[in-house]
Amino acid sequence: MSAALDPIRVRVRVTSPRLAVTLGIVLVLFGAASIGIAYVVVSGMLDGHWYDFRDLGLGMAHLREWLNEVNAGQPAALSAFLGDQWISYITGALLGATGILTFFGLLLLILVWVERRLIGRIQVRKGPNRVGPFGLLQPVADALKLIQKEVLIPIGADRFMFYLPPVLVFIPGLLVWAVVPWAPNMNYLDTNVGVIYLIAISSTATLAIFMAGWASNNHYALLGAMRTVAMMISYEIPLSLALLMVVLMTGSMQLSTIVQWQVDHHVWLGMLMPLALFTFFFSSTAELNRTPNDIAEAESEIVAGFHTEYSGMKFGLFYAVELGNAVAVGAFVAAFFLGGWSLFGLETWIPPYLIFAAKAFGGYFVLVWLRGTLPRFRLDQLMSFAWKYLIPISLLQVLLVAIEVTAMRYMHFPDFVELSLVGAANLAFTIFIVRAWATFLGYRPEREQVLKPTMAKQMGGLRAAEEMRTR
């Protein structure tokens, strides 16, 4: 059959050549203008400073200095009334909020495409490729479609509680980005309780999800909400324990300090504490509702879980925040365990925020990869894994890390020796304790118990079946 007669296999042209050329010219002009402006700013033609674009944090520091000058120069009456630093505060808050919102918005737009393309590649198909070049405009089309869709509210739903969750679930999704350490000096909220902030903020999403499930007046949604809550309660603990190990080792809850510790010691915490890395990552998949722990929205069982009844942009918000959180998990894995913005000295040459973004997206890619590969656990399996395996083993590991940290305080070997010893001890302990604990609880890997089908030549019924079994 000829290709022309086969509508499915013919690539549908969405862009005419003229439109493409026009778009191309506009893009080139835009790019040239941007580069020109960037050159003027960076090269110091404007204010005599030479900006190193590898370090946006430096630019931020300059901005802060400048704002301090402005603060100092304000009339005394104003500063007596409003405080000395109010210009810095307000500018900082506005800039940060705008930055995070812009970043998050753009990120979501890109992620929809990235996720679908990646999953498509994993599933030997193409993924979205019709709207715009390489399907890049697909997220825009999706968003437009979602916005103009009617939002249905089920009969018997609690309207107020039904409207609230998509918004509420979005807030933590935005807030966690505040503490992300992009580069030296480049984090919006470098609070010294960063780790607790992270845990606290992410735990509030539970309530929103639970509200969504309850308000929908739908049995699937309620089941999904129950599962979410059960899972989040269980997996907050190993998550916190994993972060506790990090805090113990680095002696700080400030994210910039944690990254700086890794830079100073030329090591990634993930190498020192592989179990903590695994625990954090696995618990995060549970918190995120992503495969293999996506039981809260297990499509084949409870349709879409807590957001079954949401349509239009309300569904879109749930979907978007889920994607955004996936990258946030990648970012925190990078910050806590993969050395943040450092890359063994390369950060001098490559902009650190790019290194950080690469690591964050690497973590995200692993999540997508898992999603494309693994089946799903069952609720009771996940619960028993958390309570019977992850939490006890993590607790023991925390104990070991505490001992190591104390020992390191009293010994004065070179860093390299100390950390190698710690890493080796942790790895050995992890392997030992996992095996020992599994043996203690009587766990046998399923794959060792599997019997492959036998091949029969003779047909028969029950008698033949028994013969085959005894043989």
Binding site: M459, G461, L462
Partner: protein, 170 residues
């Protein structure tokens, strides 16, 4: 008509059956055995338990409307002996047709009997869950009966081939 490749001779089955369950067999041909509708469970249980018959599986169960009576056709399968037995039950009461359910012997009859009840309106005594299956509860008729929706001047079946004209078979 030829039997299936591994179908037992009906006469042979009838001989053994009438010895074991006296009075159950009414007719026997070389294809099938016809039994009393009230003795279905007895016959099935014997066929199921007997080592030689060894009818371990109820392979197929369906009903046929013969205008004045119904036939329930049981295809029984022995897996170990690898033969097939065809048993029929004739239900003479066309209006209130009823037959013993063979669910006590074969759990596989659960859905098959429900299907026959649903589409043909034959009542199976002793079936644990006899409800309409494809059609909804309260549907007025039984579609597989030949008198389904008695439309004037409409006879069930195909009277002649589409290209044949004039010749009326029935």
């Amino acid at each position: 008509m030829p039997r299936g490749p591994r179908q037992l001779d009906g006469h042979e089955v009838a001989r053994l059956l009438s010895a074991a369950v006296p009075g159950a067999v009414t007719v026997a041909t070389d294809e099938w055995v016809e039994i009393q509708p009230g003795r279905v469970v007895d016959v099935m249980r014997w066929l199921h338990d007997d080592a030689e018959m060894d009818a371990a599986q109820l392979s197929n169960l369906c009903g046929v409307d013969r205008y004045d009576h119904f036939e329930i056709v049981y295809h029984l399968q022995s897996l170990d002996q690898n033969h097939q037995i065809v048993v029929k039950a004739r239900l003479t009461d066309h209006e209130a047709a009823s037959v013993q359910s063979c669910f006590p012997v074969y759990t596989g009859a659960l859905l098959q009997e429900r299907e026959v009840y649903d589409l043909m309106g034959i009542h199976f005594d002793g079936h644990p869950d006899l409800r309409r299956m494809f059609l909804w509860e309260g549907y007025p008729a039984f579609p597989l009966r030949k008198d389904f929706l008695q439309i004037v001047d409409h006879h069930p079946g195909l009277p002649h081939f589409p290209f044949e004209t004039g010749k009326q078979e029935r």
